[in-house]
């Protein structure tokens, strides 16, 4: 456990040092990076211990608030450890990337004291949320995390639009947190304790006595965590806030904060909620909301032209996949533990994969911004000649999120489909959800083909920024490259992470409730549906053997190519033999997939809007009796102006005495003296 506190100390020290040296723009990023590296090293100790020993706890709480029995108590079980590992890695990559990114001249006018220290504090909050074992302090750390993230969202204060996005984020998440706190208070009334154990006991007793109250509590928790995760309709804040934050911070949100919504769902619905029929109801609800997010989020992403907005809507869609899978897992907890294990594992595996490619994609978008100063993918094109390596990272990360084999997105989506299809004989609802997920998987591919190719291929356009050749700084490269390497590694060896994940999931439930992970490896037939994940290196969908087959086939084809002894001749691209301006022959990102987008155009009579994303337009407030009310509200009219007029008139009158003739001034003096004497006598 000491490792955890040392890590917190490193984060805090990093924050203080970064604050002190915030004027040293060249060093502040490196200071934060060093602190986060050290913190990650000390967290590794706790993570390994948690996986080896099951749980790491403290002997006694750090601090107890006597009046309400809230204890500052940390407990790290394998699930927390898993999240801590993800967080620690993201915490390293963000300053590694930010070191280069925040040196852009755009940020010269901003004080970096508003960025790096806040970032470190943010990670303190995130780590503590994951480790806390008491709901009261859980919310305190949750609030620290939210406030820090708000600070990062509105970092670029000069932009009014960004401030507005930040305000929306602030309001929505606080409503959600308030709801969750109400839920915790209801449970506290029942058991008199905020500790996870106490809250769980309260749920058990509520389930027996007042189940409707329990469902209210669960609803509040669901809304709270789904809001943070960006699940629609509560996740409406996400695209605006993500696009507003500086890109390294956005990657930090995508890599850690949004995922804590899933952590909360797992904690409440798997760990604390006693397994009963109500578990099933909530599992189905979570899965359905997940699918709604997949559908609306991804289809909306397809029509975005702003690179960062596009990625943000995909965050919503991808969170939907996790919710779908975890919902399936929760649904099957009481009836079919093996499918429950499969669903939960697939969901968490997708979460880990998502951290890898989503953070990488935000970094990619940032690198493009670094080069051409715009996120609008319509305005740029053919950047692969400026950023050849970034182009490769973007392409690979895009393939990973689109679920092309052998990358990690495919590995986890494959598991999700398999689980949903295997479960459909028990609950046909999941088949419908799986079909939605399959369809949207192709939309994701379309969206990322558009994103990566519009930026890097096609006719060259640099938005008039006159960008020079030369890649982004090595730190920014490295952070993207590491994430892509993780995408490939997790894709080729899916059983290795699944082993740890299944341990984390099993740790949440009574021992031997879930079958061991090895049960998924063998032949299993559940209600007539086969489920086999395989074992060893050729696990799941056999990535390694298929890769071998592909390499052999490629060798065959390449050999054939060499055999033909090709003669190469370099020519320019053919534009019908005419001299054309670049803009005339450039196919803009906006024009991709028009026919398909038309299919999802909402049209009611003359009213028409593209896309499926519901936007509420508030009507303007108009009063019928405008004249009088306007006058009443118009302070200028009846208060300031009359007052000012009176003063002005008086001043003019007074200035009339100021005639410029010395005799008159003498007369005034005399009159003044006389009146003073008279006054003295009168007053006496």
């Amino acid at each position: 456990m000491t490792g955890f506190f040392i890590a917190l100390m490193f984060y805090l020290t990093g924050a203080v040092l970064a604050w002190l040296f915030s004027s040293k723009r060249r060093w502040v990023g490196s200071i934060t990076l060093a602190a986060h590296l050290l913190a990650a090293l000390s967290l590794a100790d706790v993570v390994i211990a948690a996986f080896r020993r099951g749980t790491v706890t403290m002997e006694y709480p750090l601090w107890t608030i006597a009046g309400i029995h809230a204890e500052l108590f940390f407990k790290i079980d394998p699930l927390s450890a898993l999240f801590l590992a993800i967080i620690a890695l993201v915490a390293i990559l963000v300053p590694l990337y930010g070191r280069g990114y925040m040196k852009m001249p755009e940020y010269d006018e901003y004080n970096l004291a508003g960025f790096y220290p806040v970032l470190s504090l943010f990670f303190v909050g995130v780590c503590c949320v994951v480790a806390a074992a008491d709901l009261f302090f859980f919310f305190i750390f949750w609030e620290i995390m939210t406030l820090c993230s708000y600070g990062l969202v509105v970092f670029e204060k000069k932009d009014r639009e960004k401030g507005r996005a930040g305000l929306k984020y602030f309001i929505i998440t606080h409503i959600a947190t308030a709801l969750m706190f109400i839920a915790a208070m209801i449970l506290y009334r029942e058991s008199g304790s905020f500790s996870f154990q106490g809250q769980s006991d309260a749920m058990t007793s509520l389930l027996a006595t007042r189940p409707y109250l329990l469902h209210l509590v669960l609803l509040f928790f669901f809304i709270g965590f789904a809001t943070k995760a960006g699940i629609l309709p509560m996740g409406d804040w996400l695209p605006g806030a993500y696009a507003a934050a500086p890109t390294p911070a956005t990657a930090a949100f995508a890599g850690s904060m949004t995922k804590l919504g899933v952590y909360g769902i797992l904690r409440i619905f798997v760990d604390l909620l006693p397994i009963s029929a109500s578990t099933q109801i909530w599992g189905a609800i979570i899965a359905v909301f997940g699918t709604i997010s997949i559908f609306i989020g991804t289809l909306t992403a397809l029509v975005q032209d702003d690179g960062k907005k596009l990625l943000s809507f995909h965050v919503i869609g991808q969170m939907g996949y996790m919710f779908l899978s975890i919902g399936i897992g929760i649904y099957f907890l009481p009836v079919q533990p093996l499918l429950a294990l499969a669903g939960l594992c697939a969901g968490i595996f997708h979460l880990i994969n998502n951290v890898c490619y989503k953070s990488c994609l935000f970094f990619n978008a940032g690198s493009v911004y670094w080069k051409v100063k715009t996120f609008n993918i319509n305005l740029v094109g053919g950047l692969a000649r400026l950023l050849p390596i970034t182009a490769m990272w973007t392409l690979l990360a895009s393939f990973a999120i689109a679920g092309l084999p052998p990358l990690n997105g495919f590995a986890s989506k494959w598991l999700i489909y398999q689980t949903a299809i295997a479960g459909s004989n028990i609950a046909p609802l999941f088949m419908l959800l799986a079909v939605f997920a399959l369809f949207i998987s192709a939309v994701t591919l379309a969206s990322f083909i558009k994103f990566s190719t519009a930026l890097f291929y096609g006719k060259y356009a640099d938005h008039g920024s006159g960008a020079q050749t030369g890649e982004v700084p090595p730190g920014m490269q490295l952070s993207q490259g590491l994430l892509v390497a993780a995408c490939i590694g997790l894709g080729l060896f899916p059983l290795w992470p699944l082993h740890w994940i299944s341990q984390a999931v099993s740790g949440l439930l009574p021992s031997a409730f879930l079958p061991p992970a090895s049960a998924l490896a063998g032949e299993q037939t559940l209600h007539g549906m086969a489920l086999r994940w395989g074992a060893g290196l050729t696990a799941a969908w056999n990535p390694l053997s298929l890769l071998l087959v592909f390499i052999l086939c490629f060798a065959l084809v390449y050999g054939l190519y060499r055999l033909t002894k090709p003669v190469r001749r370099v020519e320019t691209t053919w534009y019908c033999g005419e001299e054309q301006a670049d803009d005339q022959v450039r196919y803009q990102a906006h024009s991709y997939y028009l026919a398909f987008k038309q299919l999802f155009t909402l049209q009611v009579g003359r009213y028409q809007r593209p896309g499926v994303y519901p936007t509420i337009h508030y009507p303007k407030i108009v009063f019928s009796d405008t004249g009088r009310l306007k006058k009443l509200l118009d302070l200028d009219h009846w208060f300031y102006h009359p007052l000012a007029d009176t003063f002005q008139k008086m001043a003019y009158r007074f200035s009339a005495t100021h005639s410029g003739i010395p005799h008159v001034y003498l007369l005034w003096l005399l009159l003044g003296a006389v009146s003073a004497v008279v006054l003295l006598f009168v007053l006496k």
């Binding site: 399959l438 379309a446 994940w533 190469r568 691209t573």
Partner: protein
């Protein structure tokens, strides 16, 4: 153990070589059919081989220095050949694993992505338009195909081609599998880029779309990948939906399989020759309806029909 590995390797090699060497012949047959309907004599059946050889002997004109432009044809063909290892051609596929139906579809999608990458990296607007169309076709066709395969998966209780084949050979056709067969067949026409769905290349319109800048051996590889896909899809359809008659020996099964595939391609050829090309928005709407048809089939499968 080692003999089974040897058998797998041998059968995989047979599949790959079959797809590579036999597919132009089937294409030639379809061309002959088209010529017959047109009342022409038409090219000889082995014409596609000559086409490929001629393209391979030509010089290679390169308009983009991008690595993607250079390697996408090879990767595309290699992916199609890798998918051949998962495909049941005449017999159960040489490589079998859980959920290989899903993996197969994604491999084929990946090969289409390589076509798109070639088109877009050439920086020609025709290439980009063709690639965007290709993606739209995938968007609409892939769900139809997957739903049809899932329908079979629900009936047979497994998302593995070999289990589906065993089930189909043992059981007669059911309402849901018939609907799935129709849906799969209609989506195959699009996957094979045959009229009325050759919207991606549309030679008279956008001049072969994604391949407009490709030439020489690389264009040959793309063509070859298309021929190979035709054979693979025909084989898939035949093995899954027309499994009978089943013989004891591999050779006889393969022979009859090829015969049935020729019949399927004949049907595709007839559809090809009597239909004009649809516009992309018409095709998108068409497959939108087809998705619902396929979903109805899936619903029947879930209720046991």
């Amino acid at each position: 153990m080692s003999s089974s590995v040897l058998q797998t390797v041998a059968q995989s090699a047979i599949n790959v070589l079959l797809v590579l060497l036999l597919s132009p012949l089937l294409e030639g047959g379809v061309r002959k059919l088209v010529a017959l309907v047109h009342s022409r004599i038409g090219p000889p059946v082995y014409q596609p081989y000559l086409d490929l050889l001629k393209l391979m002997s030509k010089e290679e004109i390169v308009s983009s220095s991008d690595g993607l432009f250079r390697y996408s044809p090879m990767i595309c063909l290699a992916l199609v050949l890798a998918a051949a290892v998962l495909t049941p051609i005449g017999a159960a596929p040489p490589m079998q694993m859980s959920g290989d139906a899903i993996t197969f579809v994604y491999l084929i999608t990946f090969s289409s992505v390589m076509i798109m990458m070639s088109g877009i990296s050439s920086a020609s607007p025709y290439g980009v338009i063709g690639s965007a169309r290709e993606m739209m076709m995938i968007l609409m066709v892939e769900p139809v195909m997957l739903i049809a395969l899932i329908t079979l998966g629900v009936k047979s209780g497994s998302m593995q081609f070999s289990d589906m084949m065993t089930y189909q050979a043992g059981q007669g056709p059911a309402l849901s599998t018939v609907i799935a067969a129709v849906a799969l067949f209609l989506s195959l026409i699009a996957q094979m880029a045959r009229l009325p769905f050759d919207i991606v290349e549309a030679d008279q319109e956008i001049m072969e779309g994604p391949f407009v800048e490709q030439s020489g051996t690389k264009l040959a590889f793309f063509k070859w990948a298309f021929y190979a896909k035709e054979l693979i899809f025909a084989a898939l359809f035949v093995s899954l939906f027309i499994p009978r008659p089943v013989f004891a020996g591999y050779g006889l099964n393969l022979l009859f399989g090829l015969l049935k595939m020729a019949v399927v391609l004949l049907l595709v050829g007839v559809v090809h020759v009597v239909n004009p090309r649809l516009r992309i928005d018409q095709a998108v709407r068409y497959f939108g309806v087809l998705i619902f048809v396929a979903l109805i089939g899936l619903t029947f499968a879930l209720v046991g029909a």
